[in-house]
C-alpha cells in the first residue's frame, strides 16, 4: 500500500552531504596536488635564480662571460615563464583553497628578483633584450582583461621569434614593496605596460615590435 516514507528526507540529506564531502575532499586533493607540483618548480627556480645572482657577483670580480650569463638568464626566464603559465591554469581551476594565490605572489617576487638580476647583466653585457610585462592581477575590468590577454599573446609570439629575449610577466597589484619601488622608478602610469630594455615604457600593443 501507498505509505508515507518521510525518513527519505533525512536519507537524501545524508547522501547529499556525503557526496559534497567527497567532492570537497577530492577538490582539495586536486588543488593540493597542483600546489605541490608548482611549489616544487618554484623551489628549483629559486635555487637557479640565486645561483644566477651569485654568478653575476662572480662575473663582476672576474672577466665577464657575457655569453654564459645571457644563456643562463634566458633559460631561467623561459622556465619561470612556462611555470607561470601552468600556475595560471591551475589558479583558474582552483576554487576551494587560496594556496595558488600565495604561490603566485612568490613567483612574482622571483620574477622581480630576476628583473633586478637581468638589469645588472644587461648593464654589464647588453647582448640580449629584456622585456618586462606589467599587468593587473585578477582584474575585474573586462577591457583590461582583454587587453592583457592580447598583450600576453603578442609577447609570447615575439618571444618565439626572438631567441635572445628575456620575457618577465609580473603582476603588479600584489603588495610587493620592492616591485612598487621599481614601478615608481619607471613612472608607470597605467596597466598593462611593457618596459623594453629598462629604458622604454609602452602602453599600446598595436604597434609594438622588437627587431
Amino acid at each position: 500500500m501507498l505509505r508515507s516514507k518521510k525518513r527519505v528526507f533525512w536519507e537524501a540529506l545524508i547522501v547529499t552531504v556525503f557526496i559534497f564531502l567527497i567532492g570537497f575532499l577530492f577538490g582539495i586533493y586536486m588543488e593540493r596536488g597542483n600546489y605541490n607540483r608548482i611549489s616544487d618548480y618554484s623551489t628549483i627556480s629559486e635555487i637557479n635564480l640565486l645561483d644566477g645572482m651569485i654568478l653575476i657577483q662572480l662575473s663582476e670580480n672576474r672577466e665577464t662571460n657575457c655569453e654564459f650569463l645571457k644563456k643562463e638568464n634566458i633559460n631561467f626566464a623561459n622556465r619561470i615563464y612556462e611555470e607561470a603559465r601552468l600556475l595560471e591554469k591551475y589558479e583558474e581551476s582552483g576554487k576551494i583553497t587560496e594556496s595558488m594565490k600565495i604561490l603566485h605572489r612568490k613567483y612574482n617576487m622571483l620574477r622581480t628578483l630576476s628583473w633586478v638580476s637581468n638589469s645588472n647583466a644587461l648593464e654589464m653585457c647588453g647582448n640580449y633584450d629584456l622585456v618586462v610585462y606589467l599587468y593587473e592581477y585578477e582584474s575585474e575590468d573586462l577591457n583590461v582583461k582583454a587587453t592583457q590577454s592580447v598583450w600576453s599573446r603578442k609577447l609570447s609570439d615575439i618571444k618565439k621569434k626572438n631567441e635572445d629575449m628575456v620575457l618577465l610577466p609580473i603582476a603588479v597589484n600584489q603588495e610587493l614593496s620592492s616591485l612598487n619601488i621599481l614601478l615608481e622608478k619607471y613612472s608607470i602610469e597605467g596597466l598593462p605596460a611593457v618596459i623594453v630594455n629598462n629604458n622604454e615604457v609602452l602602453y599600446n600593443v598595436d604597434n609594438f615590435n622588437i627587431n
Binding site: 537524501a12 582583454a146 603578442k154 600593443v205
Partner: protein, 409 residues
C-alpha cells in the same frame, strides 16, 4: 572563497538534495509506482467539462468519457462558457443522444475555466466529482484506475497521468518528454504526500472535500494548483494513479506555448502569495510543497543569473580579445590558451547534469506507450540542454506580469 563560488555551491547542494530525494524515493517505492486499488464500492461520479470555443475537441472528449468502463460514472456535465463558435450545438447534440450527458451554459462568459467548473458543480449530486478539460481525452480505463484510492477516507483528490496526444512537431514532441517527466516526478511526490497539483485534464475529488474548500478559486489562473494546496492545508491527502492515462492537446506554436506557461507561472505565484503564511505549517504543504515550489523556482532563477553573468562576461572578453587581436596582428584563437584542468565546480556541475539526465531516462523508461514511437535521443538532448533553459526567463517574465497585474486567462 569567492562569493560566486559560495552561491554556486549552495545552489548545487540544494539541486543535489532534490535530485537524491527523488532518486531515493524511486528506489524505495518502485514496486508501487503502477499500483492501482480496487474500489470497495461503486462510488457515484459526475464529470464536469468546462468548454470555451472547443468545437474541434469537445466531441472527442465527450466520446472518450462516454467510453469509460467505470460503472459509477453517472453524469457528464459539459459547461459551455458562452462560446462564440458552435461548441454549444455540438454538446447539445450529444446531450440529446446520451442521457448521461448534460449541457449547461453559464449566464455570461466567466473568462476562466474555474468559472465554468464551479457553475457545473452546482448540478452535481454524486459522492465524487471529476473534471476534465475539453481538449483532453481520457483512456477508457482511466477513471476506473483512479477511484480505488478513495477507499482511504483521508484521500480528498486523485489525479491522473497527462500525456501529449498531438506529437506533430519538435515543440510538441519535447513537451511530450516534459509531461512524462512531470508525471513521473508527481508520482514520486505522491509517496511523500506532496503532490502539489491535481491536473485539469482529469482529476477526481471527494465531493465532501471539494465543498469543504469551497470549490475553485475564481481569482487564480491555476485553479488546479490552488485547490490542491487548499485540500492539503485542510489535511486531505492527494494521490496519483500513474496507470490512468489522459491524452491532452498541447500548443504546437511557440506563441501559444509561451502564453500557457506564463499563465501557469502567474497562477503559481498567485498561489504562493495566497498560502505564504503556511510556510512550515499545515503539514506537508508548509514543510515541503511550499519550500520545494519556491526553492525550485529560486534555483532556476539563480541558475539563469549564473549562466547569463558568466556567459556574457565570457563573450564580451572574447569579442574584445578578437577585436584587439586583429588590430595588434595577433592570432585570435590559440590551442595553448585552452585550459584542460577542470575545477571542482565544473565536476559538480557535470555530475548534477549527468544525474539529472539519468533521472530523465528513468522517467522515460517508466512512460513507454504502445501507440507512439519511442522518444528520440536528439529530442531528449534538446529538452535537457535548451528547453529547460526556457523556464527561468519565463519565470522572470511571469513575475513582471504578476506585478503588473496582467492576469488574464
Amino acid at each position: 572563497m569567492e562569493w560566486l563560488t559560495v552561491v554556486y555551491l549552495i545552489y548545487t547542494f540544494i539541486a543535489f538534495y532534490f535530485l537524491f530525494l527523488f532518486i531515493l524515493t524511486y528506489f524505495q517505492n518502485y514496486k508501487e509506482i503502477y499500483e492501482t486499488i480496487k474500489p470497495k464500492k461503486n462510488y457515484s461520479l459526475s464529470i464536469v467539462v468546462p468548454c470555451y470555443n472547443e468545437s474541434k475537441n469537445i466531441r472527442k472528449n465527450i466520446e472518450a468519457l462516454l467510453s469509460s468502463n467505470y460503472p459509477g460514472l453517472k453524469k457528464i456535465i459539459v459547461v459551455d462558457d458562452c462560446s462564440t463558435d458552435n461548441s454549444y450545438d455540438v454538446i447539445e447534440s450529444y446531450a440529446k443522444k446520451y442521457p448521461r450527458v448534460m449541457v449547461l451554459q453559464t449566464p455570461k462568459n466567466t473568462g476562466r475555466a474555474a468559472g465554468s467548473k464551479n457553475y457545473g458543480v452546482r448540478f452535481v449530486k454524486t459522492e465524487l466529482i471529476g473534471f476534465s478539460d475539453a481538449d483532453s481525452f481520457p483512456r477508457k480505463d482511466a477513471i476506473s484506475k483512479m477511484v480505488g484510492f478513495f477507499n482511504d477516507e483521508k484521500v480528498g483528490g486523485v489525479t491522473s497521468r497527462v500525456l501529449v496526444g498531438n506529437r506533430k512537431n519538435t515543440l510538441s514532441k519535447i513537451q511530450s518528454i516534459e509531461y512524462k517527466i512531470i508525471s513521473f516526478t508527481r508520482k514520486l511526490l505522491g509517496f511523500l504526500d506532496s503532490i502539489y497539483v491535481t491536473n485539469g485534464p482529469l482529476s477526481i475529488y471527494r465531493k465532501k472535500a471539494f465543498d469543504e474548500v469551497g470549490g475553485f478559486d475564481m481569482k487564480n489562473l491555476t485553479e488546479d494548483i490552488e485547490i490542491t494546496w487548499n485540500l492539503v492545508s485542510k489535511g486531505w491527502k492527494i494521490e496519483m494513479a500513474i496507470p490512468s492515462k489522459v491524452y491532452s492537446t498541447v500548443p504546437e506554436k511557440f506563441r501559444g506555448w509561451f502564453k500557457q506557461r506564463i499563465r501557469w507561472n502567474v497562477g503559481g505565484i498567485q498561489t504562493i502569495k495566497k498560502y505564504h503564511k503556511k510556510f512550515f505549517r499545515c503539514g506537508m504543504l508548509g514543510l515541503f510543497i511550499l519550500p520545494f515550489f519556491v526553492l525550485s523556482w529560486l534555483l532556476g532563477i539563480i541558475g539563469l543569473f549564473f549562466l547569463t553573468y558568466r556567459l556574457s562576461r565570457y563573450l564580451i572578453v572574447k569579442y574584445l580579445v578578437a577585436k584587439y587581436s586583429v588590430a595588434a596582428n595577433v592570432a585570435i584563437l590559440r590551442f595553448e590558451d585552452i585550459n584542460l584542468n577542470p575545477s571542482i565546480l565544473f565536476l559538480f556541475g557535470l555530475l548534477l547534469f549527468s544525474l539529472g539526465f539519468i533521472f530523465t531516462l528513468l522517467a522515460l523508461a517508466h512512460s513507454k506507450e504502445k501507440d507512439y514511437e519511442k522518444t528520440k535521443i536528439h529530442d531528449m538532448f534538446i529538452y535537457s540542454l535548451f528547453y529547460l533553459l526556457m523556464y527561468p526567463p519565463l519565470l522572470i517574465i511571469s513575475f513582471y506580469k504578476y506585478l503588473k497585474k496582467e492576469d488574464k486567462w
